[in-house]
């Protein structure tokens, strides 16, 4: 029997709105889950999804994708690529798996909310496939690292990280809880798929796929390329929703959600992806700097996506562009200096050759972050290792939950952005973080940052050991220099040479 072409039946099949008789529309679409935009169902029926895919087509394509990625893994399982790869590269994949694998499962819940509670039939169809995508991403990104658990305990954090109070995971949970776990279906489409996935996921997956191939880790490269093809489809759920809102006079509400989610995503990427691209990836394998990659794949594309829809650039756009050269250097320095609190081993990435590269890509690096690194390196050269570790906690932003840091040295401009709300003093890492809080203070006010928890006596004993225990970091998992400080030998040799001459 001949099959109809997809477009002969797709729209009829997926137009599944109806007039409920046994319950009210509000009972069918509770405001908490569906959102309260004051738009009738008919307005949402104009939602026009850019990807029109049917379930049989989806299954066929996904099966092929899985077969491809799992075959590469099977073929290379005895290759010793992991064992032989640069320790900096191992840290890249540990941070990636730990930060994302279980959050992919959480994202399946967010997609499921759009699937059930969106009033737009097209969105419901796309989110059904999106939900299955996220389950696949959760499964594949837990299965792939599992083979390395017996070789390296930190690989266990692919599964474990999300359940811990490790500081980066508190930050990640706070962000994803905000944009995808506690928002209505339409907000999820704007904040998760449009702002986060269109804006940033591309970078994590495209950038890392390129770096993975360069580093010879073809298993990881094929895994994340496989995931990326799903992301590029379901990331487009939000665009048509924004269009519906804008056409119906709801631009201000839509814009605000984009602005919050984009800023918050940027902060998370500044700590997770910035250090990976500019410090962990071995110099010879770096394709582009983090800033160059951001400018090419995020700034240009996201600007176009916004203007195509008739949205404005976020109000902080100029400041965001400035931050591309600055914020992630401090995030890296902080995560290195507080390295025992990491579940991967940060690569310092500051040999003379790497510093030359940093100076070329970020003019002025040596006079700023470089000045802090000079002191750390001097301590290493003099075997004064105690001084290369902290004895207190960094202050943490009450929005992004990351250390409040900015540019040191000759351009020192570090600043707190405080706010007193109902008798409690909150600290923020930027005007934008504070602005996010001010948009809906009650949403965020009750959360305790790691420092708030420490001061409340929730971390005992109140020392490094107590903090590591609170973060769930067991012996063998606690972070240390990725290369066991071998890189500092170059500086020791330089010092000896200088003395000799």
């Amino acid at each position: 029997m001949a099959l109809l072409n997809r477009m002969d039946w797709y729209e009829i099949a997926r137009t599944t709105n109806w007039s409920p008789k046994y319950v009210t529309e509000q009972e069918l679409f509770p405001v908490e889950m569906a959102g309260d935009y004051g738009l009738p169902q008919e307005a949402w029926e104009k939602y026009d999804e850019p990807y029109k895919q049917t379930y049989p087509e989806y299954v066929k394509v996904q099966r092929e994708k899985d077969a491809g990625a799992y075959s590469v893994k099977a073929a290379l399982e005895r290759s010793k690529i992991f064992e032989n790869s640069d320790p900096g590269w191992k840290s890249v994949i540990k941070s990636h798996y730990g930060a994302l694998a279980r959050l992919e499962y959480a994202a399946a819940t967010a997609e499921a909310r759009m699937m059930r509670f969106s009033k737009a039939p097209g969105m419901r169809n796309m989110a059904t496939l999106g939900c299955l995508d996220e389950m696949r991403h959760g499964q594949i990104q837990l299965y792939f690292p599992h083979e390395h658990v017996s070789k390296d305990r930190q690989m266990d954090w692919a599964h474990k990280a999300i359940d811990t109070n490790q500081w980066a995971m508190i930050a990640a949970r706070h962000f994803f809880d905000d944009i995808m776990m506690t928002r209505d279906a339409i907000s999820v489409s704007i904040m998760l798929t449009f702002s986060f996935e269109t804006g940033f996921t591309n970078m994590q997956f495209l950038g890392l796929a390129a770096d993975a191939a360069e580093a010879g880790d073809h298993t990881f490269a094929s895994l994340i390329s496989s995931i990326q093809t799903d992301e590029s489809r379901h990331a487009q759920i939000g665009g048509p929703a924004l269009q519906v809102l804008i056409e119906n006079g709801k631009k201000a509400d839509a814009q605000k959600k984009v602005d919050i989610a984009f800023w918050r995503a940027w902060k998370l990427f500044s700590v997770l992806t910035g250090p990976v691209m500019d410090y962990y990836t071995p110099l010879e394998h770096r394709k582009q700097s983090f800033k160059e990659f951001m400018e090419e794949f995020i700034v240009a594309q996201f600007e176009r996506a916004l203007t195509d829809l008739g949205l404005d650039l976020p109000w902080y756009w100029d400041h965001f562009l400035e931050q591309l050269s600055e914020q992630h250097h401090g995030m890296h320095l902080g995560s290195y200096f507080w390295r025992p609190t990491m579940f991967w081993n940060p690569a310092a990435g500051v040999t003379p050759a790497e510093r030359e590269w940093l100076e070329e890509k970020y003019p002025g690096w040596n006079d700023t972050w470089g000045e802090c690194w000079d002191v750390i390196i001097d301590n290493m050269v003099e075997d004064n290792m105690a001084m290369t570790y902290p004895e207190t906690l960094p202050m943490v932003c009450n929005m992004c939950n990351l250390p409040i840091n900015y540019t040191p040295g000759k351009k020192w401009n570090v600043k707190d952005f405080p706010l007193e709300y109902k008798g409690r003093l909150y600290h923020f890492g930027s005007e934008q973080d504070r602005w996010c809080f001010e948009q809906e203070p009650e949403r965020y006010a009750g959360h305790l940052s790691l420092v708030d928890r420490f001061l409340a006596g929730m971390i005992q004993p109140m020392d490094l050991g107590g903090a590591l225990n609170y973060m769930g970091l067991a012996p063998g998992e606690i972070g240390d220099d990725a290369h066991n400080y071998a890189w500092s030998e170059i500086y020791k040799a330089m010092r000896a040479e200088k003395k000799a001459s």
């Binding site: 000045e371 000079d374 004895e391 202050m395 840091n405 040191p408």
Partner: protein
Amino acid sequence: MALFPLSSNFEGDFVLQLLPVDTEHTMDEVAAAAAHHSVGRRVRARPGHILRIRRQGSDEFLPRTMKVSEAGFKPTETIEIIWEASKH
């Protein structure tokens, strides 16, 4: 005497740090406590300089002998620790 948390923003350093001090500490003692977490770790010592304390956003240094309890700080308030050339 009581433990009092402040937030240290040390000139030349890159990050704010939690700084536990005592309400009886003078501003010079607060500066020394802050220096412990920055100088020699990520900030070079500056010979011929002393360290002064000011509130964030203020140009005025607090008197060196002023006690924490007299300064009217809020718990975790951010103070700036600034290098000042010695007068002699």
